[in-house]
């Protein structure tokens, strides 16, 4: 909130190297709620105010009203990338860097770049722009937020592959909810304003059901409110405590009252769900969060596939910016509880379904043994929630 920019009020004409650009995200709950329309409307307003603004990427989707909103805006040409037999349009990040606008508009933040691109994900390109001091306005839907992946699956029955990590969204200066009623959205779909007719029919059978849309809409509002709360708390804290917060696993006395969450990482497939839940809980509580795995002293006892699964889960935790610890011990329950106690952990998260060879190796009653040992710590046994019936 220190410098005034178009994204948080005021106006700026040149990009400023050395200062990180500000990110503004328009959050919606489905295609067609009007995220791009609203974003372009704002771009037009900022242009009229005399800001140096370009469109870095725009997905027309053949939507007439939206296309009309781009009139007069400078478009940076896209890159055409050929992969196998098709040619794809991708944002040309290098060209934008060369052009150096103050503000850049980037449609569809969650997009996955075609193989052969410099970076795998569009949000990684956006990060490059921000690092170069360019402000970015972009948009995404609630289903693309990584930590909500399981909840979205439960609501829609669809496992969304294109996700944006929470920490990246959290780094945004502003999140703005773009709302429309589900009725209006379904009407737009029927009129062919969102997709071509055959695709619209298909969409209506899957994602665009009234109950699904309503649940997603509610989720998006709650998330937007939550993001706002995070920013409010951060800015209040900032005012009262300007010095750097010490990080690391050993808590300082000032932090003794804060919650500390331990996520137990095993080879079981449910661990990914557990890590997402832990991440969300930590965000809500403003808590520190650790992902902890336990390796037997003789690692040869562990099948290679299990070792790889654990490593994959730990990497997933690292990607969500969770601190990772690998402990050694033959009694997993004891090792976890011991670690938890030494580090003032207040909540231990375990997943309910743990039927792998992993659990047999450490004793099948891992959950119960952790519960019995950790008399002074809250233990949460997290279940996979049901999908839509």
């Amino acid at each position: 909130m220190s410098s005034s920019t178009p994204i948080s009020g005021g106006s700026r004409v040149d990009s400023q190297p050395g200062r990180r650009g500000q990110l503004k995200v328009f959050l919606g709950y489905a295609a067609g709620v009007g995220k791009t329309y609203r974003m372009l409307e704002e771009a037009q307003y900022l242009m009229r105010q005399g800001n140096d603004i370009v469109v870095g990427y725009f997905e027309p989707h053949a939507r007439k009203d939206t296309i009309a909103k781009t009139v007069g805006l400078e478009m940076v040409p896209v890159r055409m990338i050929t992969y196998r037999v098709s040619t794809f349009r991708e944002m040309d990040t290098d060209a934008i860097l060369k052009r150096r606008p103050a503000i850049c508009i980037v449609d569809e933040l969650a997009h996955t770049n075609v193989p052969g691109s410099q970076r795998a994900k569009r949000w990684e390109d956006v990060q490059i722009l921000l690092d170069a001091g360019i402000d970015v306005m972009t948009n995404m839907n609630i289903q693309h937020l990584e930590s909500l992946n399981d909840q979205i699956f439960r609501i829609t029955g669809v496992r969304v592959r294109e996700t944006v990590p929470d920490w990246f969204v959290k780094s945004a200066a502003e999140i703005v909810m773009v709302d429309a009623t589900t009725g209006a959205l379904l009407n737009r779909l029927k009129r062919g304003d969102i997709y071509a007719p055959e695709k619209a029919q298909q969409a209506m059978e899957n994602f665009f059901k009234e109950s699904t849309l309503t649940a997603l809409r509610e989720l998006a509002m709650r998330q937007a409110a939550h993001e706002l709360e995070l920013r409010e708390n951060a800015s209040t804290l900032e005012e009262h405590r300007p010095q750097q917060e010490p990080s690391g696993i050993v808590p300082s006395s000032r932090r003794a009252t804060a919650d500390r969450i331990l996520i137990y990482v095993s080879a079981d497939a449910s661990t990914a769900m557990l890590i997402r839940r832990g991440r969300r809980m930590a965000d809500y509580l403003g808590a520190d969060c650790f992902a902890v795995s336990v390796m037997p002293r003789d690692q040869g006892r562990l099948p290679k596939s299990d070792r790889e699964a654990v490593e994959k889960h730990l990497n997933f935790a690292r990607n969500l910016h969770i601190e990772v610890r690998i402990l050694e011990g033959d009694d997993a329950a004891e090792t976890i509880v011991d670690f938890a106690r030494r580090n003032q952990v207040t909540q231990i998260l375990l997943s309910r379904c743990d039927h792998s060879s992993w659990s047999e190796l450490f004793g099948s009653d891992l959950i119960l043994r952790v519960v019995q040992k950790a008399k002074d710590i809250r233990v949460i046994i997290v279940a996979e929630r049901k999908g839509p019936s």
């Binding site: 909130m1 948080s8 009020g9 005021g10 503004k24 909840q151 439960r154 609501i155 502003e174 703005v176 909810m177 773009v178 709302d179 429309a180 009623t181 009725g183 009234e210 109950s211 309503t214 649940a215 809409r217 509610e218 989720l219 509002m221 709650r222 937007a224 409110a225 706002l228 709360e229 920013r231 409010e232 800015s235 209040t236 809500y284 309910r352 009653d365 959950i367 119960l368 519960v371 019995q372 950790a374 008399k375 002074d376 710590i377 809250r378 233990v379 949460i380 046994i381 997290v382 279940a383 996979e384 929630r385 049901k386 839509p388 019936s389």
Partner: protein, 366 residues
């Protein structure tokens, strides 16, 4: 889950049909909810009116704000306006003219106005009710601070009490649809006040951010009720969805205070439901009865739905209740006894964890 308790009874079905018929005759009310002036409610509402008119709907504006920026004036150029009746102490919708004109859709910018003293209705929302009853649909804007239901929360944030309000239940009962109009606090500020003292501006910004958060949560809870009634009317499982339903199990020997308070907080955060149960035990000492009563009283004080369950098998009784209510999290206390009791507790814990499919189990420390 096809539990028979999910299916509506004949009485419920009849009530539903009657309600649907009434709804069909009545106009539909759509409300654009904003958290402050300057967030863009008027523009979004009038722009929707323009789009509808361009698609062939018969749209008329029947109440406007006194002043607009040029981009809204441009939209108004494309709309038909029935001027309000102006008197010495205010203005009101010209009900007679609107009813005679009979548009399909009436646009009302500012739902929370009070009418001048010589009008039939004291409040504008009553005029809107009349239009709806006459079969005219209404699209209206309203500011969060004018909803009586949330006036206490708003006052806590702003320190100011607003007198002119939309009564409790009006949004739930009369509004068919709600759209939240969201915009950063800095934008609504820059469009309504001149830049001045930074500290004053910052304080203002904090207040606006809190109001903004509240508006989003208010809209979310309205939508949650819509989802719930949709699921109910379609005989769908209501445990599906975004809500959390929390069940705290208390015993005479559990230290329930922390569990109950945490359950309450969790339920609040997700606007969820909060249940507390106790499974009846055959013999209780005087002391046990006293502690139990204290626990259950405190649960009621926290607004929990308290129920006493019966059944020889406590674990089974809890699981049955949890499935019936679509519980998402069960809170239990740690065993506070040693010896044989602990083994028994361990066994029921094991069964609870292995049978509570789709439900989180949270074990609280001593």
């Amino acid at each position: 889950m096809n539990d028979s308790s999910q299916r509506p009874t004949p009485e419920q079905l009849l009530a539903q049909i009657e309600q649907e018929e009434r709804r069909e005759r009545r106009g539909r009310l759509k409300v654009f909810l904003g958290y402050a002036p300057g967030v863009g409610k008027s523009f979004q509402m009038l722009d929707e009116g323009r789009r509808r008119r361009e698609r062939g709907e018969d749209v008329v504006v029947c109440a406007l704000q006194p002043e607009y920026p040029p981009e809204i004036e441009a939209v108004l150029q494309k709309l038909e306006i029935i001027p309000t009746l102006k008197t010495a102490d205010g203005e009101a919708i010209d009900l007679v003219a609107v009813l005679r004109r009979r548009p399909q859709v009436a646009l009302v910018d500012g739902l929370a106005y009070e009418n001048p003293s010589d009008c039939l209705n004291a409040h504008r929302w009553q005029d809107v009710e009349q239009l709806l009853e006459a079969g005219i649909s209404v699209i209206a804007t309203v500011n969060l601070q004018y909803l009586e239901k949330h006036s206490d929360e708003v006052e806590r944030i702003t320190g100011k009490r607003v007198s002119c309000t939309i009564p409790r239940g009006f949004l739930d009962k009369s509004a068919d649809e709600i759209v939240v109009v969201d915009a950063p606090a800095t934008e609504s500020l820059s469009r309504q006040v001149a830049p001045g003292d930074r500290a004053v501006l910052l304080a203002q910004e904090h207040k606006l951010s809190r109001l903004r958060e509240l508006a989003l949560l208010v809209a979310a809870s309205v939508i949650d009720r819509q989802l719930e009634s949709y699921l109910r009317s379609h005989g769908m499982d209501s445990s599906w969805g975004v809500q959390e339903r929390i069940l705290v199990c208390v015993t005479p020997r559990s230290n329930a205070t922390k569990m109950l308070e945490s359950g309450r907080r969790n339920a609040d955060r997700f606007q969820g439901e909060f249940y507390v149960v106790y499974v009846q035990q055959p013999v209780l000492s005087q002391q046990d009865r006293k502690v139990l009563k204290e626990n259950l009283d405190y649960a009621r004080q926290l607004g929990a739905q308290v129920e006493v369950l019966t059944g020889l098998d406590a674990t089974e009784a809890i699981l049955k209740f949890a499935r019936q209510k679509g519980i998402t999290q069960i809170f239990v206390g740690h065993s506070m006894r040693e010896g044989g009791w602990r083994r028994l507790w361990g066994n029921s814990m094991k069964r609870l964890i292995s049978s509570a499919e789709g439900i989180d189990v949270v074990v609280y420390p001593h």
